[in-house]
C-alpha cells in the first residue's frame, strides 16, 4: 500500500485552522466595532428632549424626534394588524389544506419568491398602487408596504410551526367531533403557540427597522402624525434624511435614532428567542 505523506496535510490543516480563527476574530471585530460605535455616538444624542420634543430646525438647540418615534410605532402597529392575520391565515391554508394540491404549491412558490424580493421594490409597488392613484404619500401606504413584507415571513413560519404539530393531535380533535376550524384554532394553534409568537415577533422586528419601503410611501414629515393619510414622520427615513444633511446636530440626532432602532430590534429578537426557549423546556 502506498503511504500518503502526512506532513503537508498537517500543515494545511493547521493553516486552515489558524485562518478560521483569524477570520472569526476579524468578523467579530468588525461587528463589535459597528455596535460600539452606534452605542457610543447614539448615547450622546439621547436625552429627555429626544423623546419628548418635536424636531428642531438645524442650528436651533434642543428639539427631539418624538413625532418620528410615534409615527414609526403607528405605522408598525398598523402593518402588524394587516400583515399578521392574513399571513397566519395563509400559513394555515398551506399547512392544513394546501399540503398536496396545486394551489398550495403555487402559493408556497409565491411566498418564497416574495420573501426574496428586495424591500425597495415593495415600496415601488405600493407607490404605483396607492400613492400614484391617490395623488399623495401617506402613512397608510407605508403601513401597507411593511405589511406586504411581513406577509410571506409570517405565512412561512406559520406553515413551518403548524407542520411540527403531530397529526395524531388533529385526528384526536376530529375524532371527538370537533369541526376542523375548532381543531385548528383550539388544538393545533395551542400546540404551536410559542412558535407562532416567535414568528410574529421576528417579523415585527424585521419591518420596524426597514427604511427602503417607506421612502416612496410614508415619506417623512417633521410634524406630529395626527393621521396616517398624509406623509408620516418615521424614524428610519428621518435617519436617512438627517444623515445626508450637512448639519452636525441633525447627524447627531440620526445617531440617536439609529441606537434607538437597533436597541428595539435587538430587544424584540431576544424576546422572541426567550419566548421560544421557554416552551421547549
Amino acid at each position: 500500500m502506498k503511504k500518503r505523506p502526512t506532513m503537508g496535510r498537517k500543515v494545511v490543516d493547521a493553516a486552515v485552522k489558524a485562518f478560521s480563527l483569524l477570520a472569526s476574530l476579524l468578523g467579530i471585530f468588525f461587528l463589535g466595532w459597528i455596535l460600539l460605535e452606534v452605542g457610543r455616538r447614539g448615547l450622546g444624542a439621547l436625552s429627555v428632549d429626544f423623546f419628548t420634543q418635536l424636531p428642531a430646525p438645524p442650528g436651533v438647540a434642543g428639539g427631539g424626534l418624538s413625532s418620528a418615534i410615534f409615527g414609526t410605532l403607528l405605522i408598525t402597529v398598523v402593518a402588524t394588524l394587516i400583515g399578521v392575520p392574513i399571513g397566519v391565515l395563509a400559513g394555515v391554508y398551506l399547512a392544513e389544506f394546501g399540503k398536496h394540491n396545486r394551489m398550495g404549491a403555487s402559493v408556497r412558490f409565491a411566498v418564497n419568491t416574495l420573501m426574496g424580493v428586495p424591500s425597495i421594490l415593495i415600496g415601488l409597488f405600493v407607490y404605483t398602487i396607492l400613492v400614484l392613484p391617490l395623488g399623495h404619500f401617506s402613512g397608510w401606504a407605508g403601513a401597507v408596504a411593511l405589511a406586504i413584507i411581513m406577509l410571506p415571513v409570517v405565512a412561512r413560519t406559520t406553515e413551518d410551526m403548524l407542520g411540527l404539530v403531530p397529526d395524531s393531535l388533529r385526528e384526536s380533535g376530529l375524532a371527538i367531533g370537533a369541526p376542523r376550524w375548532r381543531v385548528t384554532l383550539g388544538v393545533v394553534f395551542k400546540a404551536a403557540r410559542s412558535g407562532l409568537v416567535t414568528g410574529v415577533l421576528l417579523s415585527v422586528a424585521r419591518v420596524s427597522g426597514e427604511t427602503a419601503p417607506l421612502l416612496f410611501t410614508a415619506l417623512s414629515s417633521p410634524y406630529w402624525p395626527t393621521s396616517l393619510s398624509g406623509p408620516t414622520s418615521n424614524l428610519t427615513v428621518t435617519i436617512f434624511n438627517y444623515a445626508m444633511s450637512p448639519y452636525k446636530d441633525w447627524q447627531q440626532a440620526a445617531w440617536g435614532a439609529s441606537l434607538l432602532i437597533m436597541a428595539c430590534v435587538l430587544a424584540l429578537n431576544i424576546l422572541a428567542r426567550v419566548a421560544f426557549k421557554e416552551k421547549k423546556q
Binding site: 466595532w33 460605535e37 425597495i120 409597488f125 398602487i129 406577509l151 369541526p179 435617519i239 436617512f240
Partner: protein, 313 residues
C-alpha cells in the same frame, strides 16, 4: 326532518374557515403577480422609448430625458461581487470554527451574537459606513491599496472613502452574520458518525470538512450562498449611504458609483417628469427580474446537486 342531505352549522363554518384561509393564501399569489404586472405597466413608457437599449446605455440625464440602466446595473453587479468574494469564504471558515474548533461555550455565545447581528437593520450599517468606515477607508485602506496594487486600474484614483469598494465591503459585513448562521446550521446537521468515520481513517479536520461536511451539506450551503446573493443584490440603505451616487462608470473601485437600489432611493421622490419616473420603475423591474433569476437559478442548481450527489433535501 328533511330527507335531503342538509349541511350542519359546523360544516358550513368549516367551509367558510377554509374559504377564509384560501383567500389569504391567494392574496400572496395575487401580490406576487401584481408586483410584476404593476412594475411592467408603469415602466411601459420607458420601455417603449428605450426598449432593450436601456440595458446597454449608460446615459442618465433627466434634462435631455435620456436614460439607461448600465451604470446602475454595473454598480449592483460589482458591489455584489465584492461582497460575495469577501463574505462567502469568511462565512464558511467562521461556521467551520464555530462547529468544529471552538469550545462549545464560546460557540454558543458567538453563535447567538451572530444570529442577533443578522437582525441589525441595514440603515445602521449605512450610518456606520458613512460616518465611521468611509473615513477609515480614505485614510488607511485606500492609500495602502493604491500604493501596493495601484498598477491595477481597479485601485487607482483619489481615496475618497465612499465608492463601490466601500459599498462592497459593507455589503459583505451585512450578509456575513446571516450566511454564517445558515452555514453553521448546515454543518451542525451533518451526523457526527459520518465525520467520526472520516477522522477514524486518519483525515485531518480540514479534510473532513472539505470532503465530508461540505459535500454532505452542499445543498444547504448553496442555499445559503443564494440567500446571501439575493440580499446583497437588492440591499438599499447600506449601499445608498456610501456608494456616492454617480452615474458614471469608472474602472476604479475607489470611484463613486450607483446601484439600482441606490438610484431608486436617491432619485425616485425627485423625479417629476413621467418619463424619468417610468425609467426608474423600469430600473426596478430589471432588479426584480435579477432577483427572480437568482431564485430560479438557485432552485435549478439545487435540483442538479440533488441529482448528482443524491443527498437529502
Amino acid at each position: 326532518m328533511s330527507l335531503l342531505p342538509h349541511k350542519s352549522r359546523g360544516e358550513r363554518a368549516d367551509q367558510s374557515f377554509r374559504g377564509l384561509t384560501l383567500i389569504a393564501a391567494a392574496s400572496v399569489l395575487l401580490l406576487m403577480v401584481g408586483l410584476l404586472v404593476e412594475l411592467a405597466l408603469n415602466a411601459r413608457q420607458a420601455m417603449g422609448r428605450f426598449g432593450l437599449r436601456f440595458l446597454a446605455s449608460d446615459a442618465w440625464n433627466p434634462v435631455t430625458q435620456e436614460f439607461g440602466a448600465l451604470s446602475s446595473v454595473y454598480g449592483t453587479v460589482v458591489s455584489t461581487l465584492i461582497a460575495m468574494l469577501l463574505a462567502v469564504p469568511l462565512a464558511l471558515v467562521i461556521a467551520l470554527f464555530l462547529v468544529e474548533l471552538a469550545h462549545p461555550t464560546v460557540a454558543r455565545i458567538v453563535g447567538s451574537a451572530i444570529e442577533l447581528l443578522a437582525a441589525v437593520p441595514s440603515i445602521i450599517f449605512g450610518m456606520w459606513g458613512l460616518f465611521v468606515f468611509a473615513p477609515f477607508m480614505a485614510t488607511h485602506v485606500q492609500p495602502f491599496l493604491g500604493e501596493h496594487l495601484g498598477f491595477l486600474p481597479l485601485f487607482q484614483g483619489a481615496p475618497m472613502g465612499i465608492g463601490i469598494l466601500t459599498s462592497g465591503i459593507i455589503l459583505a459585513l451585512m450578509i456575513l452574520p446571516f450566511m454564517t448562521a445558515v452555514m453553521r446550521d448546515v454543518f451542525k446537521m451533518v451526523p457526527s458518525v459520518v465525520k467520526e468515520a472520516a477522522h477514524g481513517m486518519g483525515s485531518t479536520t480540514w479534510e473532513v470538512t472539505r470532503k465530508v461536511t461540505v459535500r454532505y451539506g452542499a445543498i444547504g450551503l448553496v442555499g445559503a450562498l443564494f440567500l446571501g446573493l439575493g440580499r446583497a443584490v437588492g440591499e438599499t440603505m447600506a449601499v445608498t449611504f456610501v456608494i456616492g451616487n454617480s452615474h458614471r462608470i469608472n474602472p476604479s473601485l475607489f470611484s463613486a458609483g450607483n446601484s439600482i437600489a441606490s438610484t431608486l432611493a436617491n432619485e425616485f421622490t425627485e423625479a417629476s417628469e413621467p418619463l424619468y419616473l417610468s425609467s426608474l420603475v423600469y430600473l426596478g423591474l430589471v432588479l426584480l427580474l435579477m432577483t427572480l433569476a437568482i431564485q430560479l437559478g438557485a432552485q435549478a442548481w439545487l435540483r442538479h446537486i440533488k441529482k448528482t450527489l443524491g443527498g437529502s433535501a
